[in-house]
C-alpha cells in the first residue's frame, strides 16, 4: 500500500490492521511519534492526517493509505523550526521531551483551525495529551507564543 508521509510517497507491505504508529516507527524509521499507552489516552503518538490531529496508535494503517500524513519530523522547513517547535524551546515547555512531539503536532493542528486560541481553548484541545513532567502551563504559553509569531509572520508576508 502507498502512504504519503511528510510529502514523500512510501510503499509499505503490511497488514492493514496494524496501527499506523508502529508502521511509522518500525517500518519507516520515523520515531518522532511515541508509544505512551496504546489506547489513545496520552497523545504521545499524535500525527496529522489531512491536517487533523490523530492518534496513530488507534489508526489502522489501512485506513489512511493515500491520505497526507505529517509527523513531527515533517514540520520543520529544513533547518528552520516550525514556530510551534521554536516556541516550545523558548518557553522551556518540556522536561524529558517524550510528550513533546505529540504536543507540538496537536498544537499545530489547533493553530491551523484557530489562529489565536484562548487559554481555555488550548487546554481543552490538548486535554488528551499527557505531560507527566507537568509542563502544562508552559505548553499553553508556548502555543500562545507560537500563535503570536505565526500571526506576525502572516502580516509580514502580506506587507512584503
Amino acid at each position: 500500500m502507498h502512504l504519503s508521509v511528510n510529502g514523500v510517497r512510501r510503499n509499505v507491505e503490511t497488514d492493514p490492521e496494524r496501527p499506523l504508529l508502529w508502521v511509522l516507527r518500525n517500518d519507516l524509521d520515523l520515531t518522532g511519534a511515541k508509544y505512551g499507552c496504546g489506547e489513545g489516552q496520552c497523545g504521545a503518538c499524535t500525527v496529522l492526517i489531512g491536517g487533523n490531529a490523530r492518534r496513530s496508535c488507534q489508526t489502522p494503517v489501512g485506513a489512511v493509505a493515500g491520505q497526507e500524513i505529517t509527523t513531527i519530523e515533517g514540520l520543520a522547513d529544513g533547518e528552520r523550526l516550525h514556530p510551534v517547535q521554536q516556541a516550545f524551546i523558548d518557553c522551556d515547555a518540556m522536561q524529558c521531551g517524550y510528550c513533546t512531539p505529540g504536543m507540538i503536532v496537536a498544537s499545530v493542528a489547533l493553530l491551523r483551525g484557530n489562529a489565536s486560541p484562548s487559554e481555555t481553548e488550548i487546554k481543552s484541545h490538548l486535554e488528551g495529551n499527557i505531560c507527566r513532567c507537568g509542563t502544562y502551563n508552559r505548553i499553553v504559553e508556548a502555543v500562545q507564543k507560537a500563535a503570536g509569531s505565526m500571526t506576525a509572520e502572516v502580516k509580514e508576508h502580506r506587507h512584503a
Binding site: G40, A44, R55, G128
Partner: protein
C-alpha cells in the same frame, strides 16, 4: 591501576588534556578493585587536541535537566560557551562507575566534581600558555575557548594547548572553584542543550533505537503476582513464520520480525498458572498497615500506592556479539542494571555494556533492570538483537509502586500555640522526611517496616511526601483546635530560618493574610524541608456544591542554595506541583487478589491540562550557600497544602491521600473530596456515580458522536448482571464486575489470531469498507443473555449495551471527530 593505565587511557581518547576527579565514596566509585579505575573516581573531563571539551559522568538525564546544568558548571569554570561542551552520560563503557541518579545528588555532588575538573583544566591551560609564550601567567585570561594575552593581543586555543600538554591529572576532593556570586554560564537560564532534538523528534530514546536485523519482543505475564507457571503450550506460536519462542524457566517470551507478529504469537500461547495471591487488597490495606499502631497516636493519615507512570514505559534493546552483551535501556542506575544483568545471565560485568540514552522520565521509578534482562534473554534465544518495550499495562503492573502507608500522630499543644509533644508513627511508607522541623521538646518519631502486599520502591521525594502530608495536615488541625491562624501557628514553632523564609515568601506572594476560607473557597498552606531544599506552598481551591473540588491557584516558594538555572528550576518546581497534585487528589492503585485493577491510563488518571492550576513560583537565590538538588523536594508541599485547603472548614484529625475520589469521567478538573467521616469506608462504587447510558445497537447508532468516541480507546471494562446490586460493595460484585488480567484474553483461537493480544478486553476499531467502523468485542463467553457490557468511552463516559449484541456491534463513525475526542 590507574597510574599504570592513565597514559593508555589518554591515548584511547586521542590525547590532549584529561582530568579525573575523586568523589565522595558514597556518591561514586566503589572499592574492591573490581573496576579498571580506582574506586573513587567520580567523573573525568577531556579537552581534545581539536579543542572540544567533553565531560564524562555516570549520571543520567531523565528530564531533570542535568545535562544542561552540568554543562553550565563546566562552561563556567572553563570560561567557554556552553555549546562547546559535550557530556557523555550513563554509558558503562565510557564513564566511571556511579551509584545512580537519585536522591537529588547530581547538583550537590556531581556539579562540584565537574567544576573542580574544569577549574583544574583551566589552570593547566593557563600554565601551558604562559610556558608557550614565556610570560608571567598573571597577565593571561581565559575566554571563549582560548587563553588570551591582553597586552599583546595574542590568543591560543584550548586544542593547541591541550595537544602540547598531553597530560593526565587527578584532582582531589578539595579544589578551587568559582563562587556562585561570580558565575557566568551558571546562574543563567540557559535553554535545554538538546532542546532542538526533542522538538523535531530526532532524539533517540531507548524505544526509538533500532539495530540491523533487530526483532521485536513480547513477554508472557502471569495473571497475578507470585503466580507460578504450571504448563505452557507454545506450539502455535512456534509455527508462525518469523517468530521465535524463548523459554527460560518461568520466563516465556517471543521475538518476531515486527511487533504485530510478536503480539499475535504471544496471544497464541496457552499457559496455566498456579496462583497464590497475597490476601491483602485495597479494601484491607490500611487496617492491615496500621494494625499495630498505638492508641496514644490516634490521628490517622493514609497514603495510597501510586504508580510513577513515566510517559516512556520501560524499554530495552539488547544485542549479543562474541559473548558480549550491549543493552540500551532507560534507567537511573546503568551500573546497577549492569550488575542485575550479570547476575541474571551469569556473566561478568566486564562482558556487559549498558547505555542509557536520555530517557522519557523516571521519577524514581526506573531503578531496576527487569526489562533489560528480558530483552537480553530474548536476544540470546533469538540470536538477533531484540527490542522490548513494555506496554503501558506492563509498566503499571510489573514495575514497582510508591509505597502506601498509614501514619498515626499523637500531639499536644499549649493554649498559646506552643507544641508540647509530638508522637509520629509511619507504617510502611518510609523514613524520609520523618523528623519534624518544628521545635518540640517531647518528640517520638518512628518508621515501622511492614511487609508490602505490592512491590514497592523509590518515588520522587520518597516518603517525604507522605510524612509531610501527615505532619502538615496535623499542624492545621492543631491550629484549628486552638483557634490560631495556620501560618502564625507554624511560625511560632519554627526556628529554622531557611524554612521560615520560604514559608513567609509563599504566604506573602499568595496574600495569605487577606484570604479566609469559606464554604465555596478553601485556602491552605504547608511547608517542609528535605535533601537541602526548602519549600513553602499555598493553595487555593474552589468548591462547587460543597463537594466538588477544583484547584485554582498554587504558590510555591523555594530555596536550595545558589540557583544554577532559574528557568529550569522553576520548571522543575511547577512540574513537581502538577505531579504532586495527582497523588494528592486522585491517583491510587486499586488492587486485590494479586492483580492491579486499573493498569491503564483510561483507568488511572494522571494530571492533565484541566487539572493544572495557575502556578506561581517564588525563588530565593542564596548565593552564599551550596546548591542542592531540586528534582524532588518541591513535591512535598502541594499535597498537604491542598488537603488543608479542602478541609479548612472541616477540621478533624484524619486525612486521606489522595483526598478525592477517583476522578469522574468528564475532563473537568473537578473531583469529589472524601468526607472525613466516611473516607475510611470503602470508596463509593465508581459505577454508581458515573453517568451510565443504556442503549442497544440502534440507540448507539443514533447517539452518533458520543458513541463514535467509543471507537477511540473504548473498551469493555466489565460485565455485570442486568440488575446489579450496585449498592453492594465492589468486592461482592467483583466476580462479575472485574475481569482478571489472566482470563481477559480473547477466548478463542480465531479472535486471538485477529487481535493477538493477551491484554484485557482490548477492542479494535476496524473500518468495514462502508465508511463506518465497528467496535469489535474480543470477549464472547461471558456475554450471555442477561448480562450487560459496560463500555468505557475514552475513559470519559460509560455506556451499557445488551450483551446479546456482542461480540460485534456496528457503530456510526463520524470521521474526523473521533480522534479529536481521544
Amino acid at each position: 591501576m590507574l597510574e599504570l593505565n592513565r597514559r593508555a587511557f589518554l591515548q584511547s581518547l586521542g590525547g590532549g588534556l584529561l582530568i579525573l576527579c575523586e568523589a565522595g565514596a558514597q556518591e561514586s566509585g566503589r572499592g574492591g578493585g573490581r573496576e579498571r579505575l580506582p574506586e573513587n573516581i567520580g567523573a573525568w573531563l577531556h579537552i581534545a587536541r581539536d579543542g572540544s571539551v567533553t565531560g564524562f559522568t555516570g549520571k543520567v538525564e531523565v528530564g531533570q535537566n542535568i545535562r544542561t546544568s552540568l554543562t553550565q558548571a563546566v562552561a563556567d569554570e572553563l570560561r567557554c560557551a556552553p555549546k562547546t561542551v559535550k557530556l557523555v552520560m550513563g554509558d558503562t563503557a565510557l564513564v566511571p562507575w556511579d551509584a545512580g541518579t537519585f536522591g537529588s545528588r547530581t547538583t550537590p555532588t556531581m556539579a562540584p566534581v565537574m567544576r573542580k575538573m574544569a577549574a583544574t583544566a583551566r589552570e593547566a591551560l593557563l600554565d601551558q600558555a604562559a610556558k608557550v609564550w614565556s610570560v608571567d601567567r598573571g597577565g593571561l585570561t581565559v575566554a571563549n575557548g582560548c587563553v588570551l594575552q591582553s597586552t599583546a593581543a595574542k590568543k591560543i586555543g584550548f586544542g593547541e594547548l591541550a595537544a602540547k600538554l598531553d597530560w593526565v591529572s587527578i584532582v582531589g576532593r578539595e579544589g578551587l572553584t568559582t563562587p556562585a556570586a561570580q558565575w557566568q554560564a551558571a546562574g543563567t537560564s540557559l535553554p535545554k542543550v538538546n532542546a532542538r532534538d526533542l522538538v523535531n523528534g530526532r532524539h533517540k530514546y531507548t524505544s526509538d533505537h533500532k539495530l540491523p536485523g533487530m526483532l521485536y519482543g513480547r513477554v508472557l505475564r502471569p495473571p497475578s503476582f507470585e503466580a507460578k507457571l504450571q504448563s505452557v503450550d507454545t506450539t502455535r506460536a512456534s509455527k508462525m513464520p518469523g517468530v521465535t519462542v524463548i523459554r527460560d524457566g518461568d520466563f516465556v517470551g517471543v521475538a518476531a520480525s515486527d511487533e504485530h507478529k510478536a503480539d499475535k504469537a504471544l496471544g497464541s500461547i496457552e499457559a496455566k498458572w498456579d496462583e497464590q495471591p497475597n490476601p491483602i487488597g485495597t479494601a484491607e490495606l490500611f487496617s492491615y498497615l496500621g494494625k499495630d499502631a498505638p492508641p496514644s497516636a490516634p490521628a490517622t493519615y493514609t497514603i495510597s500506592y501510586i504508580a510513577h507512570t513515566p510517559l516512556e514505559p520501560r524499554a530495552a534493546v539488547a544485542e549479543w556479539k562474541g559473548g558480549k552483551l550491549t543493552v540500551w535501556t532507560g534507567t537511573q542506575r546503568p551500573f546497577g542494571v549492569r550488575q542485575d544483568l550479570a547476575s541474571a545471565l551469569g556473566l561478568s560485568e566486564q562482558q556487559i555494556r549498558v547505555i542509557m540514552p536520555d530517557t522519557g522520565s523516571a521519577y524514581g521509578g526506573k531503578h531496576s533492570g527487569e526489562c533489560a534482562i528480558e530483552a537480553a534473554k530474548l536476544a540470546k534465544g533469538a540470536g538477533k538483537p531484540v527490542k522490548l518495550i513494555w506496554t503501558r499495562e506492563e509498566e503499571f503492573t510489573w514495575a514497582y509502586f510508591r509505597p502506601a502507608g498509614v501514619i498515626r500522630i499523637g500531639s499536644s499543644v499549649a493554649e498559646d500555640g506552643t507544641l508540647r509533644s509530638w508522637e509520629f508513627h509511619n507504617y510502611l511508607s518510609g523514613p524520609s522526611g520523618l523528623t519534624t522541623p518544628y521545635e518540640v521538646a517531647n518528640k517520638n518519631e518512628h518508621f515501622h517496616k511492614v511487609d508490602s502486599p505490592l512491590r514497592e520502591g523509590s518515588y520522587r521525594g520518597l516518603a517525604s511526601t507522605a510524612n509531610h502530608f501527615a505532619r502538615e495536615s496535623h499542624m492545621d488541625e492543631l491550629a484549628a483546635k486552638i483557634g490560631m491562624d495556620p501560618l502564625a501557628f507554624r511560625l511560632k514553632n519554627l526556628k529554622n530560618e531557611r524554612l521560615i523564609a520560604v514559608l513567609q515568601a509563599a504566604a506573602d506572594r499568595f496574600d495569605w493574610a487577606k484570604h479566609r476560607s469559606t464554604p465555596e473557597r478553601g485556602f491552605g498552606l504547608a511547608c517542609g524541608t528535605e535533601k537541602g531544599g526548602y519549600v513553602g506552598c499555598c493553595a487555593e481551591i474552589s468548591l462547587r456544591g460543597g463537594r466538588e473540588v477544583h484547584i485554582e491557584r498554587v504558590v510555591t516558594a523555594w530555596e536550595s542554595g545558589a540557583i544554577v538555572n532559574p528557568e529550569h528550576l522553576k520548571n522543575q518546581i511547577e512540574g513537581a506541583v502538577v505531579m504532586g497534585l495527582g497523588g494528592a487528589l486522585f491517583e491510587a492503585i486499586d488492587f486485590s487478589g494479586g492483580r492491579i485493577h486499573n493498569p491503564l491510563l483510561s483507568e488511572y488518571r494522571v494530571p492533565r491540562f484541566s487539572d493544572t492550576p495557575k502556578i506561581e513560583v517564588v525563588l530565593i537565590d542564596r548565593k552564599d550557600l551550596p546548591s542542592a538538588g531540586a528534582g524532588e523536594t518541591p513535591i512535598v508541599g502541594i499535597a498537604p497544602a491542598v488537603a488543608n485547603a479542602i478541609y479548612s472548614q472541616r477540621k478533624s484529625a484524619c486525612a486521606p491521600c489522595p483526598c478525592c475520589h477517583r476522578s469522574r469521567p468528564e475532563r473537568t478538573g473537578r473531583y469529589h473530596f472524601k468526607k472525613r467521616s466516611q473516607w475510611r469506608k470503602r470508596e463509593e462504587n465508581i459505577l454508581r456515580r458515573w453517568p451510565v447510558v443504556e442503549c442497544g445497537v440502534r440507540a448507539a447508532a443514533q447517539a452518533g458522536n458520543s458513541l463514535a468516541d467509543a471507537a477511540i480507546g473504548g473498551r469493555i471494562i466489565a460485565l455485570q448482571q442486568q440488575r446489579p446490586k450496585l449498592a453492594d460493595s465492589r468486592e461482592k460484585a467483583k466476580p462479575e464486575l472485574r475481569l482478571p488480567i489472566g482470563s481477559a484474553r480473547p477466548d478463542n483461537a480465531s479472535d486471538r489470531d485477529r487481535f493477538g493480544s493477551h491484554r484485557p478486553m482490548r477492542q479494535r476499531c476496524e473500518p468495514d469498507g462502508t465508511g463506518r467502523q465497528r467496535i469489535v468485542c474480543v470477549r464472547q463467553r461471558r456475554a450471555a443473555l442477561g448480562h450487560q457490557a459496560i463500555f468505557e468511552l475514552t475513559g470519559m463516559r460509560r455506556v451499557q449495551v445488551p450483551a446479546a449484541r456482542l461480540p460485534i456491534m456496528a457503530l456510526e463513525q463520524i470521521g474526523t471527530q473521533v480522534d479529536q475526542s481521544g
